[in-house]
Subunit: 441 residues, 2 copies
Amino acid sequence: MRVYRGTFVNPLNDRRYIDFLRDHIVGVQDGTIAFVEPASRLGEMATIHGFNPESDVSVFMGNQFFIPGMIDTHIHAPQYAFTGTATSCPLMEWLEKFTYPTESRFSDLGFAEQVYSKLISRLLKNGCTTGLYYATIHNESSLALARCALRAGQRAFIGKVAMDRNAPDHYRQATATAIEETERFILDARQLNSGLTHPLVEPVVTPRFIPTCTSDLMSGLAALAAKHHCLIQTHAVESIDEVAFVKSLHDAEARHEDDACHCSGGETGCLCERDIMILDKLGLLKPGTVLAHAVHLKEEEAALIKERGAAISHCPLSNYFFSQGVLPLRRCLDWGVTVGLGTDVAGGYAPSLLTAIRETVVSSRTLENRELQEGRVGGPRLRSELRVTWREALWLATMGGAQSLMLANRLGSFAPGKLFDAVLVDPQAPGSPFDVFIDAP
Amino acid sequence: MRVYRGTFVNPLNDRRYIDFLRDHIVGVQDGTIAFVEPASRLGEMATIHGFNPESDVSVFMGNQFFIPGMIDTHIHAPQYAFTGTATSCPLMEWLEKFTYPTESRFSDLGFAEQVYSKLISRLLKNGCTTGLYYATIHNESSLALARCALRAGQRAFIGKVAMDRNAPDHYRQATATAIEETERFILDARQLNSGLTHPLVEPVVTPRFIPTCTSDLMSGLAALAAKHHCLIQTHAVESIDEVAFVKSLHDAEARHEDDACHCSGGETGCLCERDIMILDKLGLLKPGTVLAHAVHLKEEEAALIKERGAAISHCPLSNYFFSQGVLPLRRCLDWGVTVGLGTDVAGGYAPSLLTAIRETVVSSRTLENRELQEGRVGGPRLRSELRVTWREALWLATMGGAQSLMLANRLGSFAPGKLFDAVLVDPQAPGSPFDVFIDAP
């Protein structure tokens, strides 16, 4: 047993609370946490668990502290190759001109290895120990991403991307091929864990988003997810142009099938022609589904996501560039929807959840300030109910991510039975971006 | 003469343009740029300027490039001691509970030295070679800030802060004292440059903002600025609570003097009771005046700022926390107002203009997205006219800052006659936050 002594910043099950466990000890056996106790109980724990309080304890004092390894719930791994490029484009144009051409190059395994190994190393440096990744449509390079993660010791949930329409000819697959290759990827990826006590790689069923996936493809993928007990990831109601594109597809199909919409959208308009209802109808909305963005969500759609047990990946940075809006995060949380944070590399230019945490706070203030200016909330002290605090944002980057991936029993906080998946923060490390003051206020 | 060969990212006089001078040479004599030429003219330049093309040339190739040293036009140096603390408070409460108590501690020179030396080192690491600082009301520690800058080789414009009302008793001065001490600071600070070819330290007349400065104090300071040819810095129309506070002060004074407002505010309401007009009336709005924030600016006020030749320091990050809004930067630029960027440490938690550049882009998208959502701008391609590009933001952090400080003839770009004040960016330096890809798109 290895015992770690120091300060542990520990998210609780309720997202409004984080514990600051000063001078505590955490005992770890075979990667799993055996106990979390005040250091005053060191002798007692040594007796119970049979460790040597001298040689088996690693001490991290001063300004160092531990946080749970952060969980990035939305990363396009191949897009790291052009991070920050052309974020001035509208989404659909950006995909066509920059994303698809770049992603299609990942049939080249050498290029894939170069980008993926640098990305994973960078994410680990920034404190992300678990990633939910989109790879590309290529099975071999998607497996290369898995191997990079294994080599680096990062937990990686990886989707071979499925697309069968509205993408360039050289970067999409026939419906049946996309389904077959997805199943082959699921089986191959799971093979990679052989010999590991705690599996690190997990395949994820990944219809990119409705514009590039026919209903047949999505139904087939839903069946695969059920058969192999896989997580599902896709994008939903991300931007005004994407929502309009989905509506136009739906309209065309409805006309083609002579099957007009008969939903009772009422005041909110037709929901059947929008992402959430379509995904639900096709069997893709369930526990373990992670919906990226969801910026233009309606309350009824949030209720459906909650009811189905799916989760939203909030990617605050890319919202500014592509979404023409910001996810109403506070409202989603109040509605009880499960939310994790995502960097959305490369739409989000920063391969760091620390940036995502900061932008979560900032973007919530964007919404609050707007309402304040318009006199809809606030009062003499100019407070409102829309802001999200850094504590909540850190909670979302850890426990929120764990809940999104259905792993709250294994990740996201320090508790007996969970994996010891931790980041040591040292503000005084060489080259630290922080300064520490003696006797500061 | 020392000659630098490499790539120079060079802002032009027009803020819409930045030149990318690949494989160029810049000749520097006694700190001043003698020539900027393509490297193909190396031999010719060596003959003209009499340098040795072998031994006198430093070559920076590969992915390295030079940018002009960045200019931070709004930093509260003492506040670095509590950076990022309590940004959830409204502005006036944050000042009272956190800022004034911290700043008042800077009567302790040891504490001041600790904080100031770390701040300046951090700003230099982040590429800021010129800072426009608020110190505290204390002359001695304001001079200590100047000495820290001199030691580190940073160009520093420093204000001993003047306050004579609405601040704690132990952290304000009588009106006459504040004026006398400001004049003493001006004289003492200028002494520090003795022996330097290019002065590094310059005193700045600094009425903190109208809530803490009587009209007598501000008039007195305006006279000092005129007498000693000093820059002026203050805050203006930063937040809803600050604007309301100024109005209440104005109302009280107007009643007291039995001198009601007779301005012709018309549709925009009374401008006399707002910061810009008050500063102008007291002689503080002129070339070399830098107004921090100006978030809640009206168009008539922007026109007055432009007419007087004053500048705005845009601090995008702190806008989110304290301003209940974001400066309409695009409109200010279109109106022809001079603008520089500021970190606003500590209201802005990041002591880095690189963050300010990113947030300038992001915050402009906040405004654009809001108008897009409300259908006021845009069209089929969802473009609008409110965004600011990274090129413009970099321009603002360099040339915009130089213009704000009336130093566009010495700083802000690479041109003969200007100082060679440069930052070498090396994405492949050890510990770099960037990855570089071979043959990336």
